[in-house]
């Protein structure tokens, strides 16, 4: 009862109240969402203590058992302690550790925290390239469309006037031609072969006019892809997510879905 039923009742009430609050501007519903959010923020602040306990214990055990990397675990605990003490020390000294004259903000935040964060974030530049290289293979029709859309949008975003996209189109079309020839050689039937070789010839012939006109229009094509097919699919996904989210929320409020409580 106390362990299972009451939590279900609490979930039900807090969920239903927020749904009512959407339609009732009058007090006390009008600002209920805001109030609950404030409460949630307070509660989650306190639960950080649970998290820190878990993290420190995890690494303390590694040190105690002299597990591999125990030295690094010690560094983690030291870093944690130094940051915490420094932050609160600055807080006591200047009122708030996030005040510009706090050494915590001036040194720790600026020269340790921000570089770590920004560098980790910047790894994406590398990963986005390797993921594109590996995943964008024209294996199926859909994979090909994904690839083409990605390449067109990418090129459409290259700043104009650099001339680079023109050169690039040359490379791309030659590559396409080579690819088609190779593909044609693998085919058995004559019609397929003719199509492939014909396509190769066409893409070589197309280099000049496309290199001349296409870069001018490429940004427009990229915009079109973003604004029409991209937006359409996103809308469909959003509508699905909204319907699924409402159903899932209702399952939770009604206590049908209660994985989190066991």
């Amino acid at each position: 009862m106390m362990r299972r039923t009451i939590p279900l009742i609490i979930t039900f009430i807090s969920g239903i109240l927020l749904v009512f609050a959407l339609f009732i501007p009058h007090k006390p519903f009008g600002n209920l969402e805001e109030r609950f959010n404030d409460w949630y923020i307070i509660v989650s602040g306190f639960t950080m203590i649970l998290g820190m306990d878990s993290l420190l214990l995890h690494h303390w055990n590694k040190i105690r058992r002299r597990q591999a990397d125990w030295f690094h675990s010690a560094a983690l605990i030291v870093a944690f302690a130094v940051t915490l003490v420094w932050g609160f020390y600055s807080g006591i000294k200047v009122g708030n550790p996030f005040d510009p004259k706090s050494t915590f903000l001036q040194y720790f935040y600026t020269y340790v925290f921000v570089p770590l964060q920004a560098t980790m974030f910047s790894l994406l530049a590398f990963f986005i390239a390797s993921a594109a290289y590996r995943a964008f293979r024209a294996r199926t029709l859909n994979a090909t469309l994904l690839l083409v859309a990605a390449v067109v949008v990418m090129l459409g975003r290259v700043p104009k006037g650099s001339g680079a996209s023109v050169v690039l189109f040359g490379i791309a079309l030659v590559a396409l031609a080579v690819g088609l020839v190779l593909h044609g050689r693998s085919l058995v039937d004559l019609r397929g072969q003719l199509l492939a070789y014909g396509g190769a010839a066409l893409s070589i012939l197309a280099i000049i006019p496309i290199a001349k006109y296409f870069p001018t229009y490429l940004p427009a094509v990229a915009d079109w892809i973003m604004n029409i097919p991209q937006l359409a699919a996103k809308r469909g996904i959003f509508i699905g997510i909204a319907l699924g989210g409402i159903a899932m929320s209702l399952r939770i409020i009604l206590g049908i879905e209660r994985t989190y409580l066991k």
Binding site: M120, L124, K234, L243, A247, I252, T259
Partner: protein, 369 residues
Amino acid sequence: MKSPPIVPLPVPSVRAYDTPNDAGGSITVEWELSPVDSVVRMYEVYRLEGSPEAEPVSAGFVLRGTQKFQDNNLKDGETYYYFVRTWVGEEYADSRLSNPAVPSAQWFHTGRKSALVILLIYGGLLFYYLQQARSGKPLYIRKIAGLEAVDEAVGRSTEMGRPILFIPGIGYVSDIPTLAALAILKRVAKKAAEYEAEIIVPNFDPIVMTAAQEVVKEGFMEAGRPDLYNEKNVYFLTADQFGYAAGVDGIMVREKPGAVFLQGVFYAESLILAETGHSIGAIQISGTTSVTQLPFFIAATDYTLIGEEMYAASAYLSRDPLSLSTIKAEDVAKLGFIAVFLIGILLETLAAITGNQALHFFKNWFSLF
């Protein structure tokens, strides 16, 4: 920069009324633009409390071209009068006094009636199919590749003698996708226990961590192996987005999991995690409702649960008839919405061809305020 002086002209009319759909204490003031709006610096709204003879107080100001101002923090039931001062440079001209207005709070938000109707119809559908399920009607659900692969991934990872890594993302327990991820975690934990495999769950949020601990324990109990459950493998890392990514990357390259699950709320760190997971040769099953991150999961992981597929997961994996019935209701709602689209499209097309503005009523009904 002296330009010839332009005489400020007052706004021709001012109207005040109780702000609709609010919690009270607010009046909206509306006016027609001053004839010299293009050179107006700002419109300053003055308030008189109680009577037209009261001392005017400046309530606020807005930029040129604006015709509306909302005056908040008023007393419900008190009468207020307003006038608008038009500023041109350092000169001004005052409008006449507005009608009296009294702020009050409303009990129903009329601007959200369409949302209410949709919610009621959809809620009705959900209840209808729940009742159907209670009466024992079997329900079909199509195959979802990403979910079919869960058991296989756990099995293959065990064969390789490697642990399983479950990454619940950087959402909070109040995010629905995180709760959906926990449902998937339960299945993964149960399978892991059956295969006697180790499962590691690093967390971004402490509450999600406690919930994940319970879920994994429950999964191990369902598999009949509570002895194998190790709470220390479900732990907290940090509440920093990229700190979390750095930590999980470290776990991946050192523990070398054979299967990696990326389920829940993800932002930019999604690709950092998925690429590292790929580099260690793990089978990766991802799922999120963060539409901006789906392309990266599609590119870098083996299976991806796209948006709504993730919400269907708990019903799909548990085959619980009550949960499955809500999926049936979702599908019926989809057909309903498509019908609504078609009606709307037809009416809008007719409106565009005939120029009859009245035909926009259907689309306008869906506007939210």
